[in-house]
Amino acid sequence: MIQELPKISTSLFPKSDFPNLLTAVNGQALAYLDSAASAQKPHAATEATTAFVEHQYANVHRGVHTLSQLATDAYELVRDQVKVVLNAADRNEIIFTKGCTESINLVAQSFARPLLQPGDEILLTELEHHSNIVPWQLAAEASGAKVIAARIHDNGELDLEDFKAKLNSRTKIVAFTHISNALGTILPAKEMTEMAHAFGATVLIDGAQSGPHAAIDVQEIGADFYVLSIHKMYGPTGVGVLYGKLNLLEAMPPYQGGGSMIRSVSFEETTFAELPAKFEAGTPNIAGVVGLGATLDYIAGPNWNRDSWVRRVTEIGNYEAVVREYGVSQLAEIEGLSVYGDAEEMAGIISFTLKTVHPHDLGTILDQHGVAVRAGHHCCQPLMKRLGVPATARASIAAYNDLEDMDRLASAVIAAKEIFA
């Protein structure tokens, strides 16, 4: 894809903006290549969050006093920001959850479970993360529906023919990941959504890995639901996003009951609040949501808007592709090393195995060299089975990684190989 590697001397996000990247691990400088599991946090956003907690904090949506109002304003402002990030049509389409996993469970329970009839089908893909499999299995079990998975090609690309062949009039839900966390494959989300809509299915897209690395336009894709995990977007833990089309969210029953999601409560009858409150029962992760806002500001710079956001994340995606390409070229020199995933469209993930060294041992040895990678099934056991490996080692690239991190990765892999020689 990339014709000529540009010279990259420093990373797109300065490492010094992320204090944890400067931590010494096992006496080595850290080469953090596990951002697909969770990204490190910019100091500026942590600081802004602390400032909020220490100068504007109170509970939201309930109080007439000043702090409560300040906190509510800060919290709700972030809803507007996320609307821009996803290009949603309406701010009430943005629901804050505790993460991608909760967002998917919410849709599986409040949308799918009441809808599904025995014999109905939920179509997934072989690439899915457990968080985009198990919630559907639970809803299917409760309703007698079936979970089905579209196959992938050996290079990690989705087999679009098989996907198409598995769509039919019983297909009620289609759920797939925008970017595979285990391989890095980018799926043709718009095309798949159109195919699914042709059969009347409702489409949920798992954006856990696309959020931080690609421009997303839910209207252009046509997604019915789109979910994000903020801790993977350089933001705080315990925050997620559910985007849903207004008419779908409006028609859905609430997921959790509690404070803030009601209009009126009596022991005889309870009526529910409008969107988005209906799906945000209880005190939300106020500081986390405010921290998300500060993180978006860090990523896109002051006074960002839709245009500058799209430019920035496109730049990030391109940068990471360059770093990946370089890393793959370095690893390719190592005999016995296989990289999994070689689709046309790849995000910044390198999944690999080494003939003589088990991924778990590789993980430990790399760690001793200060190189943090993930080793295991990446919460994708069905995919591992499909690839015929128990596990892989995975280096995932973020905007703060650089070519040197790739060099460190390659030389640590060589060192591992030598131990087992």
Binding site: H358, D361, T364, A375, H377, P390, A391, I419, F420
Partner: protein, 152 residues
């Protein structure tokens, strides 16, 4: 590196990993259990032929990292032909060796462990203790008549 990887991947470990002893299926097994480490996908099956309180035969099979596979291999060597009571006692010593918080307590019996002493490198890496321990827990489950084990 603050600590030498050779402490973990000692020659003994690498040798057992490359040339596993006691690997394969056992016909006429009286006890069988399979252990999983859900974290990394390691999987070990232990089969025993126990007669008159003695382990006549022991085999392992499975898929896993060097630590886990060599631990299993060494275990079959140590337990082959042993009375069950001795095997259970060795299980206890291994637990202490791998998991005692107090370093000197852990090291007390090291001279009695033979090749198994090579597993000691994992003490520095809590996340890998489970790898070394999986075959042992699976053995324990098998002897107790359970069919599955895990190490978390």
């Amino acid at each position: 590196m603050s600590w030498d990887l050779r402490d973990l991947y000692q020659e003994t470990i690498l040798d057992h990993q490359k040339h596993p002893r006691g690997k394969g299926a056992l016909e006429n097994a009286t006890h069988t259990a399979t252990g999983y480490n859900p974290l990394c996908g390691d999987k070990v099956t232990i089969q025993l032929a126990v007669n008159d309180g003695k382990i006549d035969e022991i085999r392992f099979d499975g898929e896993g990292c060097a630590i886990c596979m060599s631990s299993a291999s060494m275990m079959t060597v140590s337990l082959q032909g042993q009375p069950v009571s001795d095997a259970e006692e060795l299980f206890q010593r291994i637990q202490k060796f791998l998991t005692a918080n107090d370093e000197s307590a852990a090291m007390e019996d090291i001279d009695t462990l033979g090749d198994l002493a090579a597993l000691g490198g994992v003490r520095r890496l809590p996340v890998r203790i489970k790898c070394a321990n999986l075959p042992w827990h699976t053995f324990k489950s098998a002897i107790q008549g359970e069919q599955s084990a895990k190490t978390e």
